[in-house]
Subunit: 340 residues, 2 copies
């Protein structure tokens, strides 16, 4: 492992993503990425008696499917990194309790896919794990009633509001596979004072700008060196804010920037206001759409940056009038040279 600049870590053994799995709910199965999910389901409860249990099952299914696609068993996995948006991360703990894999719970809100993938790759790079797994999820119904209002209340959503994706993603990291993890950069907490829990994009954009600015500086690269520069779930408001903030630093990502929150739904036809959000949004877009396109060697995405962003607030902090701290972790992925 080599430190590049102040914050970026270069992975010298180049851990690889061996397999990944993406799950989505009904709305996701009707969106533009419908072909990229491994599984979609129309029952919001997934046969359980609560949305929280349904979300836990999504993580269980996503990890199980990724393990199966990797051609390994749960016993082969040395460490699993998982987290989610629910209080005390219960989708992860309840969803994964039967696997008997050493478990390290992560909390990064909607940045969780990048954080768990980053952790998995550091573990494989260092030899702490021969095979590590990353998992996360979100569920519209469990998130909405926890963070905002009871669904039954039928409150009107503001134009800046994002729609929490009902989705899950999982990736298996080891020393073989078609996609290399070249660099990772853990983010810093950035809080510019945004207090509106219905405008998460604006709260998270400064963190994404901070991380990307540091990454380009550390690595001496520019947006033009990559096929695409992804963010997790900034949505419409946060995406334009990010592009503006970076432009002020002399970094132009226009034309390269894609936000998972603007990809998973049809913004015009699916009534989701400013786009999608939730750990499951960037997780399922990465583990489905992005990695699929990296693997198929069409050349669309051979060399990409993936930064998932998290809004680190809670219902309590919002009620207490606190601002919303944001964070963004970056992972640099490349389709293996020996396979292209």
């Amino acid at each position: 492992m080599k430190r590049i600049g102040r914050y970026t870590l270069e992975l010298e053994t180049k851990p690889r993503i061996l397999a990944s799995a993406a799950l989505g709910g009904k709305k996701e199965s009707e969106g533009p990425l419908r072909q990229d999910f491994d599984q979609t389901f129309s029952d919001t409860m997934m046969g359980t008696s609560s949305w929280e249990q349904a979300e836990a099952i999504m993580q269980k299914e996503a990890l199980g499917l990724a393990i199966a696609k990797a051609g390994i068993t749960a016993e082969d996995v040395d460490l699993v990194f998982a987290g989610d948006l629910l209080n005390q991360c219960i989708s992860s703990t309840f969803g994964l309790r039967d696997f008997n894999i050493p478990f390290l719970g992560q909390y990064g809100a909607c940045s969780t896919m990048a954080q768990t993938l980053l952790m998995s790759s550091l573990m494989v790079e260092s030899g702490a794990a021969r095979i590590a797994a990353a998992v996360t999820s979100s569920h519209f119904c469990s998130a909405e009633r926890q963070f905002r209002l009871p669904l039954e209340y039928g409150g009107q959503r503001t134009p800046t509001a994002q729609w929490t994706a009902t989705a899950s993603g999982s990736a298996i990291v080891t020393n073989r596979g078609e996609i290399q993890i070249e660099h990772v950069m853990p983010g810093k907490i950035v809080d510019l004072g945004i207090k509106d829990a219905a405008n998460m994009g604006a709260a998270m954009a400064p963190a994404a700008a901070n991380s990307y600015a540091d990454y380009f500086k550390d690595t001496g690269t520019s947006p033009q060196d990559y096929d695409a520069i992804f963010t997790g779930d900034l949505g419409k408001v946060g995406s334009s804010l990010l592009e503006k903030l970076l432009l002020e630093e002399g970094i132009n990502i226009a034309g390269k920037h894609k936000d998972c929150g603007l990809m998973i739904y049809d913004l015009e036809g699916q009534d989701v206001h400013a786009g999608a959000s939730g750990c499951g949004c960037s997780a399922s877009v990465l583990c489905g759409h992005i990695l699929k396109n990296m693997r198929d060697k069409s050349g669309k995405y051979k060399n990409i940056l993936f930064a998932a962003t998290g809004a680190l607030m809670s219902p309590t902090s919002t009620q207490q009038g606190e601002s919303i701290p944001g964070i963004a972790h970056i992972v640099h992925l490349r389709t293996c040279q020996d396979l292209t």
Copy 2:
């Protein structure tokens, strides 16, 4: 890094704890370990307007103090690992947002001190961080109203109930210092079906037994090889259950076992029923009492095992009638040979 047996990691560069800090509230300052805290405070609100804000300040103070005691600055710290019991870990995110240190939020409930110390040591061992920091906290008032009942309700506590410590602990890990981290073992989720949120000790004891049994097997050591074998906060009920469960596996820890939840308060005089709990309990006992005794070279603790245990439930899962999954991560610490 070398894998020993199935689950244990031997740290070959032997990362060290350079400094640590322990903070406690009023009740903690009146307990048997009162001399071992770096700071205690009598104002439950710490000059803020909420218990949650007070808890965040405890993490800020604990990390700041540990950094100062280490003779470094926040800029020298490459990564901070932190987590807590509050929904979405807001003590960590709000407490640490001003440090500008790359942040990886952890969720392990009361196992957080072991988890963050384990992560910090793996990062230093692998070169991902030159200096890493571990921080956690708990606060009786913020935890009680979130997990159980409003404090104003004045509900009667059951005999198995534990008292969430108002405390925080932080440790700085790097390649120098007086205490070596020799082995770490991330735990597995263990759920034997306990559903009583007022009996966390019983819910967590099976996880502690599982981890310790695997650790002794992996390393080929026995309890007699250590000066003390700590658990985080099993309390009276959980401690006797752990000793019984391990005895069934032929492992006798009697005489060596000490539970932080039974050390921080005077059980007879301080009306805490089955003992203490909370991330801050084992964090402050480790970062205060235990490390202090390891450093003073009296020989009391030269070679110890520290397993903090977590109950991975949420208020929602309890209300939905779910059982309580437990987890226990282990860290093996030794006073440096070259300094004893």
